[in-house]
Symmetry: C2
């Protein structure tokens, strides 16, 4: 309403929901905004702050998306996903843990999956245990539904992961669920299979619900990551075509849900999403093609070489990285040799070296001022260049 | 876990959230499942139960999507949407109500917009006033966040719409917001501009928040639908590329939010969605092209001809349709001359005539047993055929 002066006299809008006080924006946005401003002013930035692979969507997947569009596959489909995609997702799991197709749900990114998981699970006041540091949206999905995230400090002694003992120690009468991410964002660490079996058993004993974020599966540089579906049919497993399959902007992920929750998952997904992008689903159908997997494997090896360069180089500069990250494309580095204010440190680094990194604050509250996250979803040349710039700056 | 017999011994999963008891699946799914079963058995069904245009996405929009894919536009973009798409959406509004681009938010369908609206607005226990009959997901979005939908019975006397008086009459201390849909699903009726100004003023006086669902804008057969942005900058307006623009399966919509809510909307959309489909946004950029709008105008005229056939034909059969629907592509028909159980009536009709319609139950609780919804998003030939089949059945 541009023209009506009466607008000036209207009362202010209704009050905002209280939950919005506890949901924070991402601080990396400040870094990004400043980085874009520098770039507009003609100063190219090496972006090590982004949580997105630097590889494009594999060509056969893109071509399948284009074919889908050409064929008019632009209508609603089933709320739980195209049956053939649900089957393909089920089939991509090893025989030893393959879920029934009926338990596979295609979602608008793993973000959509987490909305469903916590929507069917969390009553106001319920507590959910999470590792700190961890992916910030996870806690916010819990808050969205009136639940209370309980952030458990984790450090190098447990590979920055929750353990069965930590879970038991923080369990309360109000605890409803536990979320673990393996490989973890921001630490790149995995829960080893033996501990994962303990975690699964302990949560079941405590009559809680285990939710496992496997979004970075496929991107592991030691043994392949092992799905929690090996340990139980009663866990929620969340995954995505974004990271390993290089489909971030398409917004498509999936989850495998315990059978008992499927009626609720089905009706909530009808209501929340109607359906997931049809062209994206048609494209994702080709993400498991042999030629695509071959290409993704080459990319994984490239990422491993980058990690093998970056971690020792950062250690050499004076960052402390006590646990070698085994997956994803992140290094969570202790920067206390340089600063006890990682927010300021990240902005200074950007200003003086044109290297963008993410301050620890985005991943929790435990020692976040002493940590920053580097992403190695960037070329080896850029990583080398970034390290040289950091070396010059930190020595000055 | 297929192979491990220990699975059998696991305790049942955690309890489900209480909200799931109040969120219902869509009953039309039962009709659809039976319709698909009939079709698999070789009995083609005329689908008048679907809420989806029968036209494909306009060719220039599809081509823009294909170009985007070819150019590798498959990465995350800004959480609030591509700046150029936000600007194009703002610009498509008439000069007299054009919002600032900063208030436009691109969302994964209008479903995504409604998640944001109620997420930033509703605290547990807050009431939201809604018309009954109305679109069922609206009430469920309120329930999702612990709010309480208050369904206000509406009938032909108010064109099946809320009025300023009805709103005042149902206002309580706990009322936080009012949602109106114009044109309405399922009734196809609009709120006239004078009443809309009253509604806007009354809700503002009561210090509540008005949310206007304009998803079927563009599909009006009398005067063009007038955006609520004409009356106030302090309303949430939700819209979509799905219906008028024929982009259902792409999952892209938008909203215009009051300025004061934008910081909360921004952080919630970061957390809920990361971003909306990039190829869909690139495609939607061309939805406002002149040649596309010309095509959409031809489609609108076609829909009008179908309405002008179907409404008198249904009345002639004995359905009561007291208000001529002025928009969308729905007829909400009183079937009490034939049945007082519209669930059974819809299934019987499907069984005996192979015509699919939606029972009133999906749209509320007020006289739903005496109503069914017909969609005329189907060819005139099919509509004629459907009417003939109904005539034969209802006369028998």
């Amino acid at each position: 309403m541009c023209s009506d002066p009466a607008a000036e006299k209207q009362p202010p809008p209704a009050t905002r929901a209280r939950r919005m006080d506890s949901i924070r924006p991402f601080y990396v946005m400040e870094v990004l905004e400043r980085a874009f401003a520098l770039e507009r002013a003609g100063h190219p930035v090496i972006h090590l702050e982004v949580g997105e692979p630097d590889f494009p969507t594999p060509a056969p997947v893109v071509e399948a998306g284009m074919r889908a569009l050409a064929e008019g596959r632009t209508r609603y489909v089933q709320a739980l996903g195209l049956p053939e995609l649900r089957a393909a997702i089920a089939d991509h799991y090893p025989q030893t843990c393959r879920p029934h197709t009926d338990r596979v749900v295609v979602t608008p990114g793993s973000s959509g999956a987490l909305q469903l998981v916590f929507g069917v699970l969390i009553d106001p006041g319920d507590e959910v245990l999470l590792a700190d540091p961890g992916y910030p949206c996870n806690a916010n999905f819990v808050r969205l539904y009136g639940g209370e995230p309980v952030l458990i400090p984790v450090g190098p002694d447990t590979d920055y992961q929750l353990t069965a003992d930590l879970i038991a120690q923080h369990w309360s009468e109000r605890t409803k669920a536990v979320l673990v991410g393996t490989p973890s964002n921001p630490t790149g660490t995995l829960i080893d299979p033996i501990e994962m079996a303990h975690v699964t058993a302990r949560v079941a004993e405590l009559r809680g619900q285990l939710v496992v974020d496997e979004i970075y599966h496929g991107l592991a540089y030691g043994d392949p990551a092992r799905s929690a579906l090996h340990d139980s049919d009663e866990v929620f497993v969340v995954n995505s075509f974004s990271k390993y399959y290089g489909m971030t902007g398409w917004r498509i992920g999936w989850m495998v849900a315990p059978e008992a929750f499927m009626p609720d998952v089905a009706k909530l997904s009808q209501n929340l999403f109607i359906s997931t992008s049809t062209p994206a689903q048609c494209a994702a159908l080709h993400a498991f093609d042999t030629e695509v997997i071959d290409e993704l494997e080459r990319r994984r090896q490239l990422l491993q070489r980058r990690r093998d360069f970056l971690v020792p180089a950062l250690r050499d500069l004076g960052f402390k990285i006590p646990v070698m990250p085994q997956g994803a494309f992140y290094v969570y580095a202790d920067c206390s040799n340089f600063s006890d204010d990682s927010d300021r440190f990240a902005l200074e680094l950007l200003e003086h070296t044109r290297v963008g990194i993410t301050p620890g604050r985005d991943f929790g509250t435990y020692r976040h001022h002493e940590h920053v996250r580097f992403s190695y979803a960037n070329t080896l040349e850029n990583l080398e260049q970034a390290v040289e710039r950091l070396r010059a700056f930190l020595a000055s």
